[in-house]
């Protein structure tokens, strides 16, 4: 149990030790990542054939995700029962059996120990005793659930079903994007110089988007004056924010002298605005939707760019963000081209996304001397609820409400 206490104000104050403390990080691994949560593992489209696999992580834990010969999905800890070595070394592939390279112990696609090399010895010599139980240290198996092409896993038998976990506020917003079979367009990893939760509260922070990301504001892609809103799940854990396509012609930012609007004399125009042209493929006039599931999954629709982002903590002050951009299997050439053009908006070189790593890294560095101080999260009051304004930090407070519940802090 952590010997930490939360500020009396509740979720409007987040103490900085949450981003800095090795004990907190360790406890999170057990209580959150290996606890009663669903973690995103991969897209089903990454496992197109029987006997294919991908390797991934749930928190620090390495995981193998497979599709067996009968097409059933499995996920299990990538750790050999014998000495703990990785069973699968490659990022992805197709195999008949998994063989640990260390001593050739083998596993089937469900993660069952299938064979121990020389278990009975050779010619009556060596080998294991008949009553040895190497299976007792077999890799942990995850429960797996697939939802409209996204594969999730949980170690805990107590985690509710994936649909119940996501809840009725957020589930339809997820399904809205995943309308058809998916097709992977590519992937990359952005390494963030900060604690994983700084990335999650950045994504949930609807207040920052048009203030930090000047590209948004300069090109009127997303301003808080445009129609939009935020949904928060009842337990605070998950969120979804959206912006409608209507162009904002107002000048609230200019009137407030906002840095992101720029001066009126240096109005910034794209020479090649076709980069931004959106087709309303989901048919509801939404231009941007950012959705998170606790603890570390993000689904984005930014115009016609669609992606899954997986948060993988790599120690107290380092996080990997695994981006997988996708389209639909029936996309025509024009739609694929549009998605690839709009890939310029996201990822490490994204016109919109590039600043997030920088801003969250600045927090990690800024708080170095103040584990005893807290952030101030009072935009939109103190509550955790859906809102039709995005000038709110309600979803950030929701994250902390969920985090505290899992961590008993």
């Amino acid at each position: 149990m952590l010997q930490k206490s939360w500020p009396a104000e509740g979720v409007t104050r987040v103490p900085y030790w949450v981003y800095q403390d090795a004990e907190v990080y360790k406890e999170e691994q057990a209580k959150i990542w290996r606890g009663r949560t669903w973690s995103y593992l991969c897209l089903e489209a990454e496992l197109p054939e029987p006997q294919s696999f991908v390797t991934t992580f749930v928190g620090d834990m390495p995981v193998v995700v497979t599709r067996d010969a009968n097409g059933v999905l499995h996920a299990w800890e990538n750790r050999c029962a014998h000495r703990g070595a990785l069973v699968a070394m490659q990022a992805r592939g197709k195999v008949e059996r998994f063989t640990c390279i260390y001593h050739n112990w083998t596993y089937d696609h469900a993660g069952n120990l299938a064979n121990v090399a020389f278990r009975r010895g050779i010619a009556g010599k060596g080998g294991m005793a008949p009553d040895a139980k190497p299976e007792s240290q077999a890799p942990k198996k995850l429960r797996v659930a697939s939802l409209d092409g996204l594969v999730f896993g949980t170690l805990s038998p107590e985690t509710p079903s994936l649909e119940d976990y996501i809840g009725p506020q957020i589930l339809p917003r997820l399904r809205r994007v995943l309308k058809k079979p998916l097709k992977v367009l590519g992937a990359y990893t952005q390494v963030l110089p900060n604690n994983w939760k700084l990335y999650m509260d950045n994504v949930k922070d609807t207040y920052h988007a048009s203030l930090l990301h000047m590209f948004f504001t300069r090109f009127r892609i997303n301003r808080l004056t445009q129609k939009g809103g935020v949904f928060v799940s009842t337990d605070g854990a998950h969120h979804c924010t959206y912006t409608e396509m209507v162009e904002d012609k107002g000048d609230a930012y200019e009137k407030d002298g906002m840095r992101s609007a720029g001066s009126s004399t240096s109005q910034f125009r794209l020479e090649a605005p076709e980069l931004l042209e959106q087709v309303d493929e989901l048919g509801d006039g939404v231009s941007i939707q950012i959705l998170t599931l606790f603890p570390g999954f993000v689904l984005h629709q930014i115009r016609n760019s669609l992606a899954a982002r997986q948060v993988v903590p790599k120690g107290v002050g380092r996080t990997e963000l695994h981006w997988t951009l996708f389209g639909f299997a029936d996309d025509d050439a024009a739609m694929t081209r549009r998605r690839l053009m709009q890939a310029n908006l996201v990822g490490p070189a994204g016109y919109i996304s590039m600043e997030d790593g920088a801003a969250t890294g600045f927090v990690q560095r800024g708080i170095a001397g103040s584990p005893d101080r807290t952030s101030v999260i009072e935009m939109g009051g103190a509550g955790v609820a859906s809102d039709d304004s995005r000038i709110t930090e309600t979803a950030v407070r929701g994250l902390w409400q969920a985090w505290r519940r899992h961590m008993d802090v």
Binding site: A91, G186, E271, E320
Partner: protein, 156 residues
């Protein structure tokens, strides 16, 4: 010695390109491309998997200029510089007007506080228009790693 001249011309193009970026002359960057030249940064993994996703893609000088304008006027990133090391330049003449080149690169990133990182390594795979002077018709930057530290602002 026609081939030696071609080799020299291509290596000089690569060198001028590298020096322009390393000296923060971003405004010169689009000029290294033909009017409709393309620039694509990707990863060896995506290439190997046959996946088309770029990390960054620009088609024609207007889009290249948009990237520069956004870096100058919209995007926020910590002050940083690159040092490009370009080597092992292979050149093949395709016809009288164009050539193909493959070259290795290392890019070191230097932050204002002195933090120095081997930021990227990989290959430039280029198609070069030779007249009136050598320019990239297509520059594909294939990064060896799928991993990018914090952000990729200045082009590689």
């Amino acid at each position: 010695m026609a081939d030696a001249n071609l080799q020299l011309a291509v290596e000089q193009l690569h060198a001028r390109y590298a020096h322009a970026l390393d000296a923060d002359r971003l405004e010169d960057w689009p000029q290294f491309f033909t009017e409709r030249g393309t620039y694509r940064v990707t990863t060896a993994e995506n290439e190997q998997r046959g996946l088309p996703l770029p990390v960054l893609y620009a088609e024609g000088r207007p889009m290249l200029r948009d990237r520069v304008a956004s870096l100058r006027h919209a995007n926020i990133y910590e002050p940083q510089r690159y040092r490009h090391i370009v080597s092992s330049v292979l050149v093949d003449k395709l016809d009288s007007e164009s050539a193909r080149s493959t070259a290795n690169f290392l890019v070191v990133r230097i932050m204002e506080n002195g933090d120095t990182l081997l930021f990227a390594s990989g290959r430039y795979v280029d198609r070069i228009a030779l007249a009136p002077e050598p320019r990239y018709e297509e520059r594909v930057v294939i990064c060896d790693s799928r991993r990018f530290d914090t952000l990729l602002a200045i082009p590689l």
